[in-house]
């Protein structure tokens, strides 16, 4: 069928190599350059479970109680994060006026690090 079997072999190999290289570069540089926070998030619940099991971070329940001491209202969302080697609980609370507060609490000792709306 083919004119110059080897021409196509070379052409296909080059094309395959080029496509693979292009996608490899795009995929890996983008992953490496992203600021890592979200990549870590996917493994966060594993990390959180492990750390909690080792007694190194406060259990979520306890942190929620502390958070409600800082801001009355209903808890909307709670998230565990590792940020620059720091373990943080990020908690969203909506007050009776409907205002959403975002609290960041140190997961190790429960210190309030940030409160904003």
């Amino acid at each position: 069928m083919m004119k110059g079997h080897n021409t196509y072999l070379l052409r296909g190999t080059l094309l395959a190599g080029a496509v693979a290289a292009a996608i490899g570069v795009v995929a890996t540089t983008a992953t490496a350059s992203d600021d890592y926070g979200d990549r870590a998030r996917r493994d966060d619940h594993h990390a959180a479970r492990e750390l909690a099991a080792n007694g190194r971070i406060l259990p979520l329940r306890q942190v929620l109680d502390m958070a409600e001491g800082h801001q009355a209202g209903r808890v909307l969302e709670a998230e565990f994060e590792e940020d620059d080697g720091r373990y943080i609980y990020e908690i969203e609370i909506v007050d009776e006026k409907g205002m959403v507060w975002e609290l960041e609490m140190d997961a190790l000792d429960g210190t309030l690090l940030k409160k904003e709306h």
Binding site: G12, V19, A27, A30, D34, R39
Partner: protein, 189 residues
Amino acid sequence: MNTIKVWDPFVRIGHWLLVGGFLVAYLSGDEWMDIHVWAGYLVFGVVVFRIMWGAIGPRPAQFRSFVQPFSAVKRHMSDLLRLRPRAYAGHNPAGGWMVVALLATLLLVALSGIATLGTEGEGPLAGTAIAAFLGEEGWEEVHEILTNLALVLVAVHIGGVVMESIFTHENLPKSMVTGIKHIHTEEKS
């Protein structure tokens, strides 16, 4: 009975890489993100390669050799209904369009997957307007709908291959491994 070499190695390897990549990506779905993403990139790469190969590859791999007008598809379908399909060296007219449909769908599946990845702050679309356009849930929804469409197409594709294999006494999955098809003498009716 003559044999002809229809499928070049790139078409064949690409085909089975797609099968494997899609299967792995589908099964690793929500569970195993790293593997899912790499299988997705593999599928993406093969599809991109195949589209370009369809322009610069050998004749049977070229889109213009197997994408035929819809009248040919209609004729093929009516042949099929009368249980007398003719044999084609490359794809039959319906099969040709299936190739196009599968490649297009898989391309969109991969792109929507990359967009979903972008909404999570990863991959080439991280932090772009494209990622923000539909958001994480939106892109995930699109990704899943397209995946289901791809599954339907795969099912129809396999059904078509089985049917044509039976009618033409040609083991088509085997052809996609060896690259060889047989020319049966009874083909001319």
